[in-house]
């Protein structure tokens, strides 16, 4: 996911917002038991909320972020000098697809990441130092479990909808199986119900780039220089998978950067090279390399065909109760449309209520993040329908 890829032209914002923190599992007996069996505690969850929770507590929408996002999702700012709105500002805000005037919108940073929720960069209570690779490997299910703990803390027992794209979509699907009676609607965008070998392959190349950086030092680099080069390369690889052949051709072609002849050196001639280097550098400034390892690993482990020890996706989705809206994008080659169709097949075979649309888009996997009136209208109307039809 390439965040902040396009600003909202309407510039409608929720104004100033604050990041909150919820701390739990402080006592060892309350520790969070992860899917791997490892126990972890204490756990901090960073989150933001927008809009008002209705008296009936029936208008809560949980937005789930993808690999490099965080809890700062809406068109809002942390203080007067903050120039960066949330990563989905074109979708979340007053009068937008996820309308903060109507819904109480929650977004929490995922477990293992570096957005304020406990991850490999957090302090290990056993050593007083950052976890590094001593942080346990987490899964999408573990992320969802921490989100559910947060909602219990907020007094929300049932969500109007869970909404996410990419890794966020995986969390949305996991929600529908893990807590079926707590979710009325699921919006899964540009996602999959099992990570494909192609997607695992790209993630592994990216992880190898980080681990090959001499500054990485088996993940214990927090007291020294960061594995910046490795993380930048990892981001460059990721970024290519978020775009498409057509988007790259349209955006860069074979144009040269700041020159009209080849340099016959390796400093980077092409605009596309310069763009990727810029994306890599920008990413290093705000993301933790170890978090990249953990979050990509969670995505790779994601496979609802074997969810809960089941033998097939059809068996797994028998548990789901929500209304589903699934959207794929024509040029997404990371999670192509056929993967959405596999999900839909499993839902249909269970008689679940599912709507599906493959939106035409030439900008690849990133399409779900870009301003798109069709997508905003689709989500807005779907949320209205759930509110009208489901008894929550």
């Amino acid at each position: 996911m390439s965040e902040y890829s396009a600003r909202d032209v309407e510039a409608v914002s929720v104004g100033l917002v604050r990041k909150h923190f919820y701390l739990f599992a402080e006592n060892p007996e309350e520790a969070l038991v992860l899917e791997s069996g490892v126990k972890i505690g204490p756990v901090t969850v960073a989150y933001e909320t927008y809009g008002e929770l209705a008296p009936g507590r029936d208008n809560a929408v949980l937005v789930l972020h993808a690999l490099s996002g965080d809890c700062h999702v809406a068109a809002g700012y942390h203080d007067q000098t903050d120039t960066i709105p949330g990563w989905w500002e074109n979708m979340v805000g007053p009068g937008k697809g996820i309308d903060t005037d109507r819904y109480f919108v929650i977004c929490a940073s995922i477990l293992g990441s570096c957005g304020g929720t406990t991850g490999p960069g957090a302090t290990n209570p056993a050593t007083g130092k950052p976890y590094g690779l001593d942080f346990p490997v987490v899964t999408v299910g573990d992320m969802v479990m921490t989100q559910q703990r947060l909602l219990t803390h907020l007094g929300i027992t049932r969500l109007l909808a869970v909404i996410g794209g990419s890794l966020g979509g995986m969390q949305a699907l996991e929600w529908s199986l893990r807590y079926p009676d707590q979710v009325a609607g699921v919006v899964a965008l540009a996602t999959t119900m099992r990570h494909s070998p192609l997607a695992i392959a790209f993630n592994e190349i990216a992880r190898q780039a980080i681990m090959a950086d001499p500054n990485w030092r088996q993940g214990h680099y927090y007291d020294g220089p960061k594995p910046a080069t490795g993380l930048a390369v990892a981001r460059m690889i990721g970024h290519v998978t978020y775009l498409s052949d057509e988007a790259l051709r349209r955006k860069f072609g074979r144009r040269l950067q700041g020159k009209d002849k080849f340099s016959f050196q390796f400093n980077g001639d092409f605009q596309v090279e310069s763009y990727l280097r810029h994306q890599g550098t920008k990413f290093v400034a705000r993301f933790d390399a170890n978090s990249f390892l953990y979050v990509t690993k969670a995505a790779d482990y994601f496979d609802l065909e074997h969810w809960g020890g089941k033998g097939s996706a059809v068996e797994a989705f028998a548990a789901a109760q929500a209304l589903f809206l699934v959207v794929s994008f024509t040029s997404d080659w990371l999670y192509p449309t056929y993967q959405s169709r596999e999900l839909i097949r499993a839902l249909k075979k269970n008689g679940r209520d599912v709507s599906f649309c493959e939106l035409k888009a030439d900008c690849g996997h990133d399409a779900f993040l870009l301003p798109n009136r069709r997508l905003s209208r689709l989500i807005a109307n779907f949320l209205e329908r759930i509110q009208r039809e489901s008894q929550i």
């Binding site: 209304l323 169709r341 209520d353 599912v354 709507s355 599906f356 035409k360 689709l378 779907f382």
Partner: protein, 233 residues
Amino acid sequence: MKAKSEPPSRATGSDSNPAPSVASPTMRFDLALIASWIEPGSKVLDLGCGEGDLLCYLKRCKEVDGTGIEMVEAKVLRGIEKGLTVLQGDITEEVQDYADNTFDYVILSQTLQQVYAPAQLINTLLQIGRQVVVSFPNFSHWKNRWQICWQGRVPVSRQLPFEWCDTPNIRVISIIDFQRFIKKMGWRIHRETAINTYHHDQHGNIVSLLPNIRATYGIFLLEKGKSTVTPVS
């Protein structure tokens, strides 16, 4: 056409304007007629649902649990925006994913003439649905016959608005042909009617006399098993 098992509301003898109880100012006459056949509260699959006019009506007025399948992105979006359940896809593939008897009705409205393997498709529909509504433009309507016989032209009409070079219609069906086809396949016609439409198909009347010549559309309600309806020649 006269069906032995028909309810009394059916017109017999002379043509009549049935003013189906479902009359909606914006809905096509053929769709209004199909809607009048659907039991309230039933589960419906509408194949090639367009922007979901029929499903929207059925959901609002008959509280059906409806799903639509549509190929064109813009139409799918309109349907979902109206609060309907719509899946984008090819009908012949999408119908494969449902368990037997998932639906009370499967509606194949004005699409049969574009289906490559009609027998296979209807067979699948009879598995996933208890009853199947099939409607199609009647190619042997007198205006089409006139164009072929006297003008020597391939028919182009309100119901068949395409030239030979751009038509998606790969099957030429008349009401008689369809009746014979159903008999041959061993299915049962539970109900059938023929209609003549006008005013952009918004209005129409049921045709009882010489439907194969005078009707613009044939509409059938099919079930598994042998037909109890006497085909009209």
